[in-house]
């Protein structure tokens, strides 16, 4: 193993630990952003997410301007296809059913939530299922590519800076107005609560640190595929070798210093292992520390109703399968890709919104239903 890998892994594990801590303290749930818009016609977290989008865009711009961010577009973004759109749609549904996104599942599981543990197992299972059908979906992706450019800025060439300035000015005005109207502050009674906007700004900073350290912005879902690869290699080694999915590379490029940046879903220590597995472990650990320090860690103290457990597992399965279809999850697309105006991220979001709507309907109808047990006491 390259010695720089160890350093990168440590930095990302530390960043992930801070991230897990913050996510737990603010209960920063991306699954809620669109779901609450459909359920309650009100989504305060959507405003907070726009702050994250704004700050990340600004930080990435600084990173590029200073030369600290070298690979732009990053190697883990690709062209958009109709499979990206379909993936986004299924992802939206899965996110509502799982009760959290790919990252939300990790911090909730770290704090001892059994539903999220089921969603985690669903994510592992969904990644394994996708490995079986990968050649079909990869062909469909190649056949339905919408546009060859990865970033919207590549369309515009010199107009990119003007677009950036216009967006910065517009978003600043909108956010300033929200601040004036008191729409950013969230009143919550949870112990040790951190305002979500603070977490949003810090996630943007963590994302920049990850981008500078690893040459790729924050991403996480291939880590689940890698975990499956190790499980299959251990228990069904012959079958493992027959799967093309685990043999392929997601990316392979050289940095300006000549370092090889290469990784794939297979069971090997590569760039994805160092970056995404370290981040995954960090988030679970950070959230565990936060919950423990608040005396809020609980596991198997009380199980949710079986309908919620089934929903969480199914949601997790859909999240993983659709992430692999689309080539990433909400972390890579909404937190990293969208602020770079990645076309793949925009297409993913276009599918995700109606998908969340469908998930909301399914959750209300089949998961909540009418089975509420109430104990009365005088």
């Amino acid at each position: 193993m390259h010695e720089a890998f160890g350093y990168t892994g440590l930095v990302i594990f530390a960043a992930g630990t801070l991230l897990g801590f913050l996510l737990h303290r603010s209960d920063y749930c991306m699954a809620g952003i669109f779901r609450d818009l459909f359920l309650f016609k009100n989504s305060p977290l959507l405003r907070v997410f726009l702050i994250q989008f704004f700050v990340t865009m600004f930080f990435f711009y600084l990173g590029r301007a200073s030369g600290l961010v070298e690979l732009y577009p990053p190697p883990n973004l690709r062209e958009a296809s109709f499979i990206t759109l379909a993936g986004g749609f299924i992802f939206g549904t899965g996110m509502v059913l799982a009760g959290g996104c790919v990252m939300g599942t990790l911090y909730k599981m770290g704090a001892g939530n059994v539903g999220s543990l089921l969603a985690f197992l669903g994510l592992i299972t969904g990644s394994g299922l996708y490995a079986e059908v990968y050649p079909l979906f990869f062909k469909l992706h190649k056949d339905t590519i919408i546009v060859k450019d990865v970033l919207f800025g590549q369309f515009l060439s010199k107009g990119e800076d003007i677009l950036f300035i216009l967006m910065m000015v517009f978003l600043s005005l909108v956010i300033l107005r929200w601040i004036k109207e008191g729409k950013i502050y969230q009143k919550a009674y949870a112990d040790g609560y951190i305002q979500p906007w603070i977490t949003a700004v810090l996630i943007s900073l963590i994302n920049l640190i990850i981008y500078i350290t690893s040459q790729t912005p924050m991403a996480i879902s291939t880590a689940y595929a890698k975990l499956v690869a190790y499980i299959e290699k251990l228990f069904v080694p012959l079958h493992y070798t027959t799967l093309e999915f685990f043999r392929r590379l997601s990316y392979s490029v050289y940095s300006s210093k000549g370092d090889l940046i290469e990784g794939g879903p297979g069971a090997q220590i590569d760039h994805i292992f160092i970056v995404e597995i370290s981040l995954l472990l960090g988030i679970v650990f950070g959230s565990f520390i936060s919950a423990l320090s608040l005396r809020e860690f609980r596991i198997l103290k009380k199980l949710p109703p079986s309908a919620q457990l089934i929903s969480a597992f199914t949601g997790g399965l859909l999240l993983a399968f659709s992430s692999r279809m689309a080539g990433g999850c909400n972390v890579k697309f909404l937190m990293s890709g969208l602020p770079m105006l990645s076309i793949q991220a925009m297409v993913f979001l276009l599918g995700l919104v109606p998908g969340s709507y469908l998930g909301t309907i399914i959750f209300k109808k089949f998961v909540i239903g009418d089975k509420v047990i109430v104990r009365r006491k005088g």
């Binding site: 959290g100 539903g115 112990d191 103290k301 199980l303 949710p304 969480a312 209300k364 006491k377």
Partner: protein, 79 residues
């Protein structure tokens, strides 16, 4: 006064708010008259934001106390 206890510890998002609102609706008459209060037990941190926000907007008064590893949200008629 009757305390209607709704124990939703361990449940996933957004079930906490939906179930609480459903229970509040089922007991609207007695809570509005001040004959009963709804006490929600939850270990979901975000529910300490979403439930008080929703019920205060509906004209109820709310109080949140931290218990042993969970939160107790009491919803009563407006004072």
């Amino acid at each position: 006064m009757n305390n209607i206890i709704l124990d939703i510890r361990g449940q996933i998002c957004p079930a906490c708010l939906l179930i609480s609102l459903k229970e509040l609706n089922n007991n609207r008459e007695s809570i509005k008259k001040g004959e009963a209060s709804l006490v929600v037990l939850t270990d979901h941190r975000d529910a300490t934001r979403t439930i008080p926000n929703a019920v205060t907007a509906m004209g109820y008064s709310v109080n949140v106390e931290k218990r042993d590893g969970y939160y107790e949200i009491t919803i009563k008629k407006e004072r």
